[in-house]
Symmetry: C2
């Protein structure tokens, strides 16, 4: 495997410039603060291979759908994360020669992402046409202490010569998306203004009227002051300054650029310009070091809550930190209108911000590290989209609610029939997150206030979507795509049928609970929802008569009808040069093969873990995992958790590394497009739920840890109902320390232990 | 049902202008001569709803594929029939007022397509702003006697006033396709020149270098000569003349415009301009009447060979004539590089020129009315594409040859995975046409010279495409789309499995024949093809162990695995306002429903008719036809043939009318896009093979005619191995007359009859 980065516990280090892989490095080196993000682009001009990317959370564009062959029900528009005003830009000229690392001679290039304190550092030396060397050091961060602020320090040190240096710091709104369907530009200029050392630009999206103001202010600090000449530049959607000065031999000249970004998502439209100017002024007055100090302190706190420490395996340590770092850069849970985009702020690919990834893969991480309110915000996000989900079901001729596959505002924006119309299992994931939340937090009020409505409407969808088969007296679900997208339009996907039935069951269970514990609210809900006895009976009938494909000879669940008619090869039979399949095989060949993209039956065993014994899990894992190519980033994590549970420690570790280092090692050969943010939460699960064996049972936490052979020790932290626990696993012991909270009972290896306030429980490690 | 046209035996008549449905009228009023075609557009400017269309056979453009989500194996380009230089244009001004029927007051408007002699006539009276009336009569044709020539007579008669009349005859290459994927213009100007009364324009396609020269020459004839002023006009890709004259009160002024169109498909590129000028000069010298006379004589001959006469049912008569007329306008079989495009020269929709429609639906019409050489040309077309078909199979990871779903040059140009990659039954249709041709003509040489290679390579594809299922000891074909495109990615489509096995069987049968009758050629072929005993044995094994889905309880073939798990409704259960389904239901709903787009099992019963007895056909028809929505234009014809065979006369007649008048009555609500050319040959089949019960058995023709209740008489003609027969069916008798050919034996109602030279056989009609 190609090694892209130096292995280091806290840093992601590129040594030497890699023009051919630059997009991969740019993706990995992305910075974000939940409000905005930028790819690891260079400040100065770069004419080489690069994907310019500046993204602002919640600002999107309804790009006209591109489709070869239109089908009824397709959305007209595809909500797209859009590339916004480039605010990092600082063009650089040394002695009149433009610095462009694709052309300029460069040595000692390093690009370092510091995860501990969330900044990007570049150091390199350029050699001009007269062989004179100049050192450059660039550091930037997007503040997580003040999320509308970014700052850059750009230092130039001519070695052994005086140099005429020209900086052009600018704001450039003349940007586009590479994935624009019809080469449309999404932004129009509204307002701009520039003077010496200062400027701003306001642009708005052509549709939907998102207004974004970006302001900059900068200073130039020299060890040895020289005469400075400053000109202003104005172009279409562009403002800049041109600063020319003499940088003295061996002295450092630094340009500090402060940026603020405000949008009419947060302020009235007519105020965003003033707000941006006010904020950039404040930032400027604070200065780079103070801003950075506030920012790094905030990171310290985040790490304190969410870090996972691994001893004895730096690759694994770097992997998990990178995953946690990117998750915290993407979503911090403080804005309930936002969600966790599959690429976060690291690329354009995939539109929308919300997939079933949120409920199925990201939810637990935020629930256990960011707390109940953040998790509740994620649930409320879907609750607020319930009406849209009902419209979506109606559009497809169905009752109840069908949540969209991909969305920004609740409306479906994906347009492949086999996904958009058929990958309906997503509906159960929305319900599952409610169950999951209540199981973890005990917050039954949520069910009465919000959850039950979602459960009823998703149940209604399922009850309308099943086909009763009188010849077999069974309910079937025809024409679906399961989690394994390497099957399309299959009948009776075991996972979908299982989760649909579970969705109905849980709705009925919640109904009983509300009837008993919240009778008044319940009666109101019955009226509001028009819930009838007949409907409830229909649901019971479906639960009782749901059909589940099953392979008798092997005693495993059958992924879908007809799976066993396939040629039952294993992944090892595939020639290496044909992997990944999705880049080498035509779609029909993938579909009719037995090869599986991601957990499907296994996903069901993971979600409904309590229903299946270890032997069942083993049999199904043994049958399906060897046929799984893991070409979805969401695949290895779930397999790793189950592998841990069934005692396949080596497999669990192998799959952990695959999920943890997916982007660092560019395993699926698509990191150039951006990072796989949502699967990063799966990496966290692989450790906490897999290696740590953490589950919620009977209103408390239960652990069954093991430690991978080559690790000396690992630890993670968990927030649970007001308790903050630190779980440390060594070669010999499991130590569970209560850092916050009162006495309570926990379970380790199925034994009860009292965990005292400020105390710990130490249990011998099960081998 | 809305009636668009007056019912008439030989004419298609629009009375009064229908701006809202103009595109439908334009489609139906299309003219073509196998070399080029034009929609029923107006000569003068029209600012209303119109699809401008001028098409030249074999001239196409590789438009960059548009696809929402790319899949490995998709073609980069989609070969598109392109809109070429508009040569009919004649702008008209009366007393300085521009004639534009979307704005000008008009009365007594008629647009008449004369099918007998292949011309379009428009007559109308315009009323100017001073309430003065002027009569207009426009007649045009594309010569089938000289296929590069078109001519228009455009007559103006002011009623009760002298009028200043301005004609602007022009050639306009500044045209585009509405369906251009990225709004690209396909043509660039190469050369043009204009003088008084004459001009030409040469354009070429941006890619592939198709050069097209169009020349015009015209004359103006007046009852009463007036002073004529002529100016020339040149614009980008445009040449014209502006002729101003006084048209005297109640006198007719006629502009005769002669056009020639030449391409570098037929002449060296540097000669096409001269050729166009030479041809237009000749046409001009002959004059309109003489040109028209030659043209109409050629039509007389075509009708003599291919007309079907129906007495007592003008609607049915008009329908079949319209179908035969359009088929003869589209393809005359004289150019082996051409094929039968699904929209002919009547619209843009659908790229490519060749679908399985040719082999499955069009072949018999051309074989029986145009003769063996034309049919052989159609086979050779595919033979010449064999290498491309092998490349196509390879691209999808398969051995042998997979013919493309849609093509222009043998390369696949369609891009929906469920069609492109999975609708593989088309491969068997290519083989079936060979079988069909040899059965009809007895030309076994074709097998030795060309056919066997195609049969072997298609067989190789099938042998690689099947999946052996060791648990059932059966061969299966997984992940296909059958002829019924309202199912996608199904397993074991009965039709596909049946035809694949048939393909292998026929190949083995031909192998035996060649071995015996053409030993020398056979040995060469074995070497060329690298044919091994092992391979042949594998084919035999597949034939023996092919799996065919079957419904035991109903004793019918099961369309595919799992069809019986669907909710088994019938078409009558669908609310009328939800039809056609493809315009009202989302795709998933269509897929999981039991509703069928077009003949699937029934198509197999039709092709392999000899293998199935009447009872089997009846049971399957009874089960499937009520579930068939016939939303493919190719559906009713095949159903009609089988309905005839099983004695469902009313059903056969109902389905006949549906296929015959599909476009005249705009039944599928898409005639505005163009006509359904290929299904028109199915209409012919519905009469000849359905009502006439014609089959080829044991090297001769066999008939089992009946007559629909409301018909008094019908007749059709058949070319068969040097015989020209006229079959007439009355209420009482079947009369088979030999118009050309020697004595031979035919079969009527399973009895043998000797049909003497110049004689006839008369048999009592079976009731």
């Amino acid at each position: 495997m190609k090694q892209y980065f130096k292995v280091d516990e806290w840093n992601i280090i590129e040594e030497g410039l890699h023009p051919e892989d630059n997009r991969i490095y740019e993706s990995v080196m992305s910075l974000g603060n939940g409000h905005m993000g930028i790819r690891g682009n260079f400040e100065e001009s770069y004419s080489g291979n690069s994907l310019q990317g500046t993204y602002i959370a919640g600002v999107y564009y309804p790009d006209k759908t591109k489709v070869g062959w239109w089908k009824v029900g397709y959305p007209e528009y595809y909500a797209k994360v859009i590339n916004a005003t480039n605010f990092i830009g600082i063009d650089l000229y040394i002695n009149g020669e433009k610095v462009d690392l694709a052309k300029t001679k460069v040595k000692d290039f390093k690009r370092i992402l510091n995860m501990k304190h969330g900044y990007l550092l570049r150091t390199f030396t350029i050699i001009d046409s007269k062989n004179r060397e100049t050192k450059i050091e660039v550091k930037r961060f997007l503040s997580i202490a003040d999320k509308e602020i970014a700052a850059i320090s750009y230092s130039v040190t001519p070695i052994g010569h005086d140099a005429k240096v020209t900086f052009i710091p600018y704001l450039d709104g003349y940007v586009s998306n590479e994935d624009s369907n019809y080469n449309e530009k999404f932004w129009v200029e509204i307002d701009k203004w520039v003077e010496k050392y200062k400027g701003y630009l306001t642009v708005k999206t052509k549709k939907l009227n998102f207004y974004v103001s970006t302001a900059m202010k900068y200073s130039v600090i020299q060890d040895d002051k020289t005469e400075v000449d400053v000109e202003t530049i104005e172009k279409k959607k562009y403002v800049g300054n041109k600063i020319t000065l003499i940088a003295k031999k061996d002295k450092t000249t630094t340009l500090y650029k402060y940026i603020s970004v405000t949008t009419n998502r947060d302020y009235p439209t007519d105020k965003i310009k003033d707000k941006a100017l006010e904020k950039v002024e404040n930032a400027y007055n604070k200065g780079f070091e103070k801003l950075f100090h506030e920012h790094s302190k905030a990171w310290d706190k985040l790490w304190e809550e969410s870090d996972i420490v691994i001893e004895g395996d730096t690759k694994a340590q770097q992997g998990i930190r990178f995953n946690i770092f990117q998750l915290n850069q993407t979503y911090l849970g403080d804005d309930p209108r936002l969600n966790i985009g599959p690429k976060g702020f690291t690329g354009e690919k995939y539109g929308g911000s919300t997939y079933w990834d949120t409920e199925a893969f990201c939810f637990n991480f935020y629930l256990s590290t960011r707390g109940e309110q953040v998790a509740k915000n994620l649930l409320l996000y879907r609750y607020k989209h319930l009406e849209k989900a009902k419209e979506n079901a109606k559009k497809l001729g169905m009752k109840g609610a069908l949540y969209p596959m991909v969305t920004m505002t609740g409306e479906e924006c994906h347009n492949e029939w086999e996904i958009t119309f058929e990958e309906i299992h997503r509906n159960a994931a929305i319900s599952y997150a409610i169950f999951n939340y209540v199981r973890y937090t005990g917050d039954k009020n949520y069910l009465a206030d919000y959850g039950f409505e979602v459960l009823v409407e998703t149940s209604r969808y399922w009850a309308d979507r099943v086909t009763y088969n009188p010849r077999k007296d069974k309910y079937m679900i025809l024409g679906v795509t399961g989690p394994n997208e390497y099957e399309n339009n299959v009948n009776n996907n075991w996972y979908t049928n299982t989760m649909a039935s579970w969705n109905l069951e849980y709705t009925l269970k919640v109904k009983e609970l509300l009837e008993t514990e919240y009778p008044e609210k319940y009666n109101k809900l019955v009226n509001k929802l028009n819930l009838t006895e007949e409907e409830l009976n229909k649901w019971k009938d479906i639960i009782n008569k749901m059909y589940y494909p099953y392979v008798e000879s092997l005693d495993v669940f059958e992924q879908q009808d007809g799976y066993m008619d396939k040629e039952l090869k294993v992944v090892e039979d595939i020639p290496k040069d044909e992997l990944p399949l999705n880049q080498n095989w035509s779609w029909d060949r993938i579909l009719r093969s037995c090869f599986i993209k991601q957990a499907d039956v296994i996903q069901g065993l993971y979600f409904l873990s309590d229903r299946f014994d270890i032997e069942t899990k083993k049999r199904n894992f043994d049958f399906y995992e060897p046929r799984t190519v893991h070409e979805s980033s969401l695949s290895p994590c779930v397999h790793s958790v189950i592998a841990s549970e069934i005692g396949y420690k080596d497999k669990a570790y192998e799959l952990y590394l695959r999920t943890a280092r997916l982007d660092l090692d560019n395993i699926n050969k698509d990191t150039d497009d951006g990072l796989h943010i949502t699967s990063m939460a799966g990496t966290w699960m692989a450790i906490v739920e897999g290696f740590g064996g953490m589950k919620v049972k009977n209103n408390t936490l239960s652990f069954k840890p093991f430690i991978p052979d080559n690790w000396n020790k690992y630890s993670f932290k968990i927030l649970f109902r007001g308790h903050l626990l630190k779980i440390t696993v060594t070669k010999k012991e499991v130590i569970i320390k209560q850092e916050k909270g009162q006495n309570f009972n926990i379970r380790v290896y199925d034994e009860n232990y009292l965990l005292p306030k400020d105390g710990k429980v130490i249990v011998k490690l099960n081998k």
